[in-house]
């Protein structure tokens, strides 16, 4: 009976400690976020808040850039939101966001609304096959017909007699959107395509099936898969920058009128060597 009691008391103690511990931890957590003191800022300190909304493909880049920028300028709060390229451009027009993020070129009728577009990075999409595949290149036309289901066998494009396994990203994915817009003219991808919901999963699927074809962001290429030349241009940074590799898209920040104030300071930072370095680390190409 005695040990029973001790056991019960111990369990209550543990429970209590846990509760107290949680309390302390939360307390500490909130305290650390309050530490930035306005006093230690340089005289020309920036302050205020900035909202960036738009393309989900640009979002991770904006988040990293914003994080670094906020670390340097303690008085600044930057909110990064998704929504898609069109939403971002719309938000910049209406002023809902100071910066709209787009992962497609800004259309003429959109610039006509007084928008200024600044390209901050370039991103390429690689068409990948299994390393065992003997093919080295395709044309955008052929890639399109494979994804639309008009070409079903590798021998129709100069490969072996084998049925092509088409692998694609899920609906809503920014990479799928961009691929669909650039290569497929937004036509529907064949429905029997295997659907995976991440770059890595597409790569793994292609790496495991010698008849598979997929597409991934150029930055996430590795040895497991082989990137095809498109229209004779190899999938690499130089060809993306030169414009000879066609499956590419710009990452753009749009502002209403010329950027000013905090938005300008942030865009300047993004275009600085340091900001561009962060973009490269996150897996896109710098604009220079």
């Amino acid at each position: 009976m005695g040990s029973e009691k001790i056991r019960r008391i111990t369990s209550f103690l543990i429970l209590g400690l846990l509760l107290v511990g949680t309390g302390i931890v939360t307390g500490c957590g909130s305290k650390t976020t309050e530490t930035p003191t306005p006093g230690q800022n340089t005289p020309a300190a920036l302050s205020g808040s900035l909202t960036i909304a738009g393309s989900t493909s640009v979002q991770p880049f904006s988040e990293v850039l914003a994080e670094e920028f906020m670390a340097k300028n303690k008085g600044v709060q930057i909110n990064v939101q998704g929504g898609g390229s069109s939403v971002g451009i719309e938000a910049a027009v209406t002023g809902a966001a100071q910066i709209g993020a787009s992962s497609r070129a800004v259309k003429a009728e959109e610039t006509a609304k007084g928008l200024t577009a600044t390209t901050i990075a370039l991103d390429g999409i690689a068409v990948v096959v299994n390393p065992a595949n003997t093919l080295t290149g395709l044309t955008t036309e052929q890639v399109m017909n494979i994804y639309l289901g008009n070409i079903k066998n590798w021998n129709e494009v100069g490969g072996p007699d084998a049925v092509i396994t088409v692998v694609t990203r899920e609906e809503g994915s920014g990479t799928r959107d961009a691929f669909s817009e650039i290569v497929l003219a937004k036509k529907d991808i064949i429905k029997t395509a295997i659907v995976q919901n991440s770059t890595g999963a597409v790569r793994t699927t292609v790496a495991g099936d010698k008849n598979a074809i997929g597409y991934v962001s150029l930055s996430s290429l590795n040895q497991e898969v082989k990137a095809l030349d498109i229209n004779g241009a190899a999938a690499n940074e130089a060809n993306v920058k030169a414009g000879t590799y066609k499956i590419q898209r710009p990452f753009i920040y749009v502002t209403k009128g010329a950027p000013s104030g905090l938005a300008q300071a942030f865009i300047d930072y993004v275009l600085s060597p340091e900001g561009q370095q962060l973009i490269v680390e996150e897996g896109a190409f710098s604009i220079k």
Binding site: L15, L18, V25, G29, S30, N197, G200, T204, E224
Partner: protein
């Protein structure tokens, strides 16, 4: 007669084969995971935080995330689960409408797919209550998922407490709650512990609901409002993203070892329970 016994022997053989086949499936899965994963298991793997998206380093933050989330879930679910079991078995008339309704909802709750809990946790805790992707959102979602298990095992344990104990205690002038606290709960403790152990197993293995509510951030969760990645979510991401097959096997191996231990403990406390029932 000889024919019939020959047929019987054949049937006996077939039934043995069925049993052996089940053992083979289990041995195959566990053996394969252990075989491929054991080599990546090391103290460093358990104690080091992951780096380069999990390509390097260990899985310490995901272990902490798993433990943290499970503890929060238990903290919320055990009092409520045991409390309702006590109410249903000791206070409510088992034929009352309310008791029937609660039992029915408990059964329904137990059958709901985890992805639906995930959707719910996402709209309710993450968005509506503004908790964001956090250990707290994940833990509370998990708490709802393990509630039926905890209540049911506690109910069974309380039911198994001999009627005389209860009646003697009441006859000696003890109030209902005194009886529950001094007589029923101590005898039902092994059963309640079994429920908790089984719930830990469920929490360790859950993936779909956790991804939607606790997120998949690799950082070390400190405050309950921090996002976290559990071991199962880590395994899913490692495997699907093809980040590191070796580390995926290591994580799978650790999860399987944990589950084997948890099952062993549950069996142990269960056999103690059945002994106590005599």
């Amino acid at each position: 007669m000889a024919g019939a016994s020959g047929k019987d022997k054949l049937l006996t053989g077939i039934f043995w084969l069925a049993g052996i086949f089940i053992v083979l499936i289990l041995a195959g899965i566990i053996g394969y995971v252990l075989f491929r994963g054991a080599s990546s298991l090391s103290l460093d793997f358990i104690l080091q935080p992951p780096s380069r998206a999990g390509r390097l380093g260990g899985i310490s933050t995901t272990i902490v995330g798993t433990v943290y989330l499970t503890l929060l879930a238990l903290l919320a679910a055990v009092p409520v689960g045991v409390g309702s079991a006590i109410y249903l078995e000791e206070y409510a008339h088992s034929r009352s409408r309310f008791a029937k309704l609660v039992n029915l909802t408990a059964e329904t709750l137990a059958g709901i797919p985890s992805i639906v809990f995930g959707l719910f946790g996402f709209v309710f805790f993450v968005i509506f209550l503004g908790m964001g992707w956090s250990v707290l959102s994940g833990g509370l979602t998990m708490a709802i998922m393990i509630l039926p298990t905890i209540t049911r095992t506690a109910q069974e344990a309380i039911l198994a407490v001999a009627g005389e104990y209860r009646e003697n205690s009441l006859a000696l002038g003890a109030s209902r709650w005194q009886t529950v606290r001094r007589v029923i709960l101590p005898s039902a403790l092994p059963g309640i512990v079994t429920g908790i152990i089984l719930s830990i197993g469920r929490a360790v293995g859950e993936t779909a609901a956790i991804i939607l509510t606790a997120g998949s951030s690799l950082g070390m969760p400190v405050s309950p409002m921090d996002p976290a990645r559990t071991m199962s979510v880590h395994l899913y991401i490692m495997a699907m993203e093809g980040i590191s097959t070796e580390r995926a096997f290591g994580t799978a191996c650790l999860i399987v070892v944990l589950i084997v231990i948890i099952n062993y403990l549950a069996n142990l406390s269960l056999s103690r329970l059945t002994k106590a029932m005599r």
